[in-house]
Symmetry: C2
């Protein structure tokens, strides 16, 4: 099949941000192309950490099972600090993810970037989308015509794409796109072509990274470990198939060229990294590895792009718009989170379900996150690179300070702390109705039971990334009065003027919204047939806030979320799994009309 | 590839018992053929219930994931009884599996027999074994020569197999087998050919079965339900894909021919079954189904074969050796459990690792189970078919009696109550060392954590059905004294005279035994490197009895099993997951020598 030169979305770069985007678009049936300048994808090394929130995101695309099977699970983290007599000793072990009880996956997963990308590439391929390589953009032009820019039938971005190994066919082609996503890494061509600058600076911290199968008597080699010694710091990240990654702090003497005073990476070899690691490990032994799977050296830069988009037609994502130290395992996660945030918005707009203005929330949400990440990273990288407190160095960072900081950073590093601020799609007006269900944060995992068959159900599994808004109707206790209220509410929502019908394409509510009804009651006697049919489009859509038959899962969900079971509360979960808004029953219809009306197009525009 | 006319094992019948056996043998690389007289496999109906223990068994072969995904999960069971004013009402809902907390899978799974068989057929196919059909045995001869019967190099069973659709090739062939398994159903040709008789009798209970997609206002149609009404009894079994199976009690008037006084199945139609069900459902409505997926009528027979084997060269299994009522969902489970029990024994003997005498334990264990099952079934079927207690019928069975019996039968119907009695492979001598870990019962599920990386691990996942004996060394607390004891024990076990080396083929301990070391300690400071290397052949083999990082899984395993963490205890788990014996540290080496010596062949015989 010849490649189309008119596409809805052209993605530049097939790293984690690019493939996350391409897969999400492909799953929604969007016409997408993705190019990458590398002739073959990376095979080893690079990023390797998937944080708890990103596992949830993969699960929402149906991709977590393979990640979990192939990856290594990091449950605990050990801290090593200098002993008074030289060498290091373990001072504590703590859960690797903090707080583990609020996470669905109370651990991070490590797996090579190549294997993680494969999960997306295979999913895309099943939907007919493959990376075209080696190809790179050499020119990009965005229309200046306001009519074109405001129309969804036009293709206002023109990209000249060069095939790097073209022999028989034309070396360049022009691709006309409705949208372009530049996910082309820290040295992003797209970013530079658009004149977007990076704000922030390089640091003095220089680190080496090496992937090996270690032979050692270090007791916690199969655990995530942070070692701080008088010979420098080292971070251990266990990986799949017995691999272990070492992050090794380098001193100026190791890398700085005395003539120029500048870091010279060519002074470093993997053998040098191992020899530094050996000193840090003392008194534990680290044998020379038989093989070096991958290695690199980097100087930490902490920068955020001044803008994430041009005219909401071209976007940059991932390393193209933020760089930071890799030691908190944030890079790949932040990058994939960018395009997870962007993809559903592009799809809503391309389907003409939501207005172009929805796309403004991408920069609003993700640039703020990137800035928070950098400010966190500054503290974290400084702590990591700081000298430990010892008898000789009383001003150093103590073991307690370090592990305390590690723990307090937990909700950010796990990804579950991300909290988007107010916008058209985050309306915290009625936060009081569910005090512990924070509007702007991801819908937390929780076990409810299915009323019809008492199966335990993870609520997140009912919130797939399928571009639909999920309406969680917490109906509370099923009194007679409640049944009456629900019947009246069903009538109200069935009117053509209700938001459900007003914003659903061709009156097909289930294309745009997915309704889940959650009652408070007991599995021994709850009768879901009492709920008006409108609120149970299928028997699997009614959940109950009670424990399962073992008594070990579920129950007390209303309490957990800070909701009153005597009230009815409507929770809107965005297509990306974040709580968009919450409304009390009394004003729910009007509140929903306000909320969706702020970015959705009334169905009159469909045809 | 032409089919071999000399095979290690010939299986007759590709129902649940046959495919369980064929897959287990294929996974172990045994030379096996399996024939079935049906031209195509069953597509709908027949058995459909997988009980909690059988899910564990499937998991031990790596097959549970697909079952769980495709099947329907039965968590709860509702009871309906007559109302004083006519019609039925719900009197209670209870967990479908009792006691759910002791089960790894606290629910049964329902799925059509065809889909369950497919799971095995696909697994076998991956290993090059496929069912040959339509083919049937027409003659079977077992050698009378004692030398042949006691030799593993001879093929003492001669079976004439007829191809039922042979056109171009010979219609019959002679297959010479070392062993034959007759898994050819209730009307087993193998059983009849060997002159084995069924003991027991027909009952007067006549039931109809119908699989439909129901339209009803019966509130618990998606739950397992037992209805007892003045119009008869009905059992509801929800199934995959919205299907529901109804078991409907029929009265003599429905089926008995007044002329002959005998049951006449031809008097029954599925429409008749539905009309009986409608009466039982009253006051709830059951619409005429659009389609009948499958239906049948049966008269309950309760019989056990007088013998399960001839000369330990031909075995019968499944319905060929026991028939009973299907309402407790035992048929398919009992059948698959038969060959799960037999397969590893055949493999041990075929490899000349264990003596032929091991095979005697098949009948010892499975015939006893079948007898228990029948005596349970008599009570259960009688209860089910009895008239409910009402004002008019004061002698009937009350709702409390019925649901009480259902619950007390729970451990048997779930399959987890199976308890094999003493034999060469079940030695309860030292039961006192682990009071709650019953020798002869399956190793119960329990979460431990892996010492090296604090991953939670289900102990059953470390006990795959791989023909090896698992040695669980509970080493208790790691005191200095314990380290010394362990070092000495390691030396003792390393001697050529130790059972480990004596019974391992060519000195390859890991071919015959899998060692798992389980310590009592805390994840915050336990150091598994202190354990002598002999007891940690790989870092994943050392477990710790503590909670995982969430605090919600694991911990208190020694207490749960009734073990003293100040003592060392060795637990032997058989290849089929049952606890074979337990020994205290002091006599462990001698006890193991006694235990394995009673059925294993010293390695001198290998060559």
């Amino acid at each position: 099949m010849p490649l189309k030169n008119r596409v809805d979305v052209l993605i530049v770069g097939a790293g984690p941000a690019g493939v996350m985007c391409a897969n999400a678009l492909a799953m929604a049936g969007v016409d997408v192309r993705i190019i990458d300048k590398r002739a073959v994808k990376v095979a080893t090394g690079h990023a390797d950490g998937i944080q708890p929130r990103m596992i949830e995101v993969l699960q929402s695309y149906g991709l977590a099972e393979r990640l979990m099977r192939e990856g290594y699970h990091m449950h605990m983290c050990a801290f090593y600090n200098p002993r008074p007599d030289g060498g290091i000793e373990r001072t504590s072990r703590v859960p690797s993810t903090i707080p583990p009880t609020s996470a669905r996956y109370p651990f991070g997963v490590t797996l090579s970037q190549a294997a993680i990308e494969d999960i997306f590439l295979d999913s895309m391929k099943d939907r007919g989308v493959e990376v075209e390589r080696p190809k790179r953009p050499i020119n990009i032009e965005i229309s200046e015509d306001d009519d074109e820019l405001s129309s969804l039938s036009s293709y206002p971005v023109k990209v000249t794409v060069e095939s790097l190994d073209a022999v028989n066919e034309s070396k360049t082609e022009i691709v006309h796109a409705k949208f372009v996503v530049g996910a082309d890494g820290a040295h992003s061509w797209v970013r530079k072509a658009l004149g977007i600058r990076m704000e922030g600076e390089q640091t003095d911290y220089i680190w080496g990274v090496v992937d090996i199968v270690p032979e050692t008597d270090f007791p916690d080699i199969h655990m995530r470990s942070n070692i701080r010694s008088t010979s420098g710091s080292c971070k251990i990240i266990p990986r799949e198939a017995g691999l272990v990654r070492l992050y090794i702090q380098l001193s100026d003497a190791d890398v700085v060229d005395p003539l120029t005073g500048r870091a010279d990476k060519s002074k470093i070899t993997p053998q040098k990294l191992i020899s530094v690691a050996k000193k840090i490990f003392h008194p534990f032994k680290l044998a020379d590895p038989k093989e070096i799977d991958w290695w690199t050296v980097y100087i930490i830069g902490q920068r955020v792009a001044s803008s994430f988009s041009v005219k909401d037609r071209v976007f940059i994502a991932g390393d193209a718009c933020h760089t930071h130290s890799p030691k908190a395992g944030q890079g790949m996660n932040a990058s994939m989170s960018d395009t997870h945030n962007l993809a559903w918005k592009l799809i809503q707009v391309l389907r003409e379900w939501s207005s172009l203005s929805l796309l403004k929330t991408y920069e609003h949400e993700r640039r703020k996150f990137a800035q928070d990440l950098i400010s966190f990273d500054k503290k974290y990288a400084a702590l990591f690179s700081a000298k430990p407190k010892t008898v000789e160095n009383g001003d150093g960072v103590s073991g307690e300070q370090f592990s305390g900081a590690f723990q307090s950073f937990g909700t950010l590093t796990s990804g579950i702390g991300v909290h988007y601020s107010s916008s058209t799609i985050v309306d915290p007006k009625h936060q009081i109705c569910a005090k512990n269900l924070l509007i702007g944060k991801r819908m937390p995992p929780y076990i409810f039971i299915r009323a019809a068959d008492i199966s335990p159900v993870e609520i997140q599994d009912m919130l797939p990334s399928d571009v639909r808004f999920k309406l969680l109707l917490f109906i509370g206790r099923m009194t007679e009065a409640r049944v009456t209220e629900l019947t009246r509410f069903a009538q109200e929502l069935s009117q053509p003027s209700s938001f459900l019908l007003k914003y659903s394409p061709n009156g097909d509510i289930s294309a745009m919204f997915d309704m889940i009804t959650i009652a408070s009651g007991n599995k021994e006697d709850f009768d879901y047939l009492r709920i008006p049919e409108f609120f149970r489009p299928h028997w699997t859509r009614v959940l109950l806030d009670d424990t399962d038959v073992t008594g070990n899962n579920g129950g007390h969900g209303y309490e957990r979320f800070g909701m009153d079971p005597e009230q009815m509360t409507l929770v809107v979960v965005r297509p990306d799994g974040y709580v968009g808004t919450i409304a009390p029953f009394e004003s729910a219809a009007a509140d929903m009309d306000d909320y969706f009306g702020s970015f959705m197009l009334p169905r009159g525009l469909d045809s």
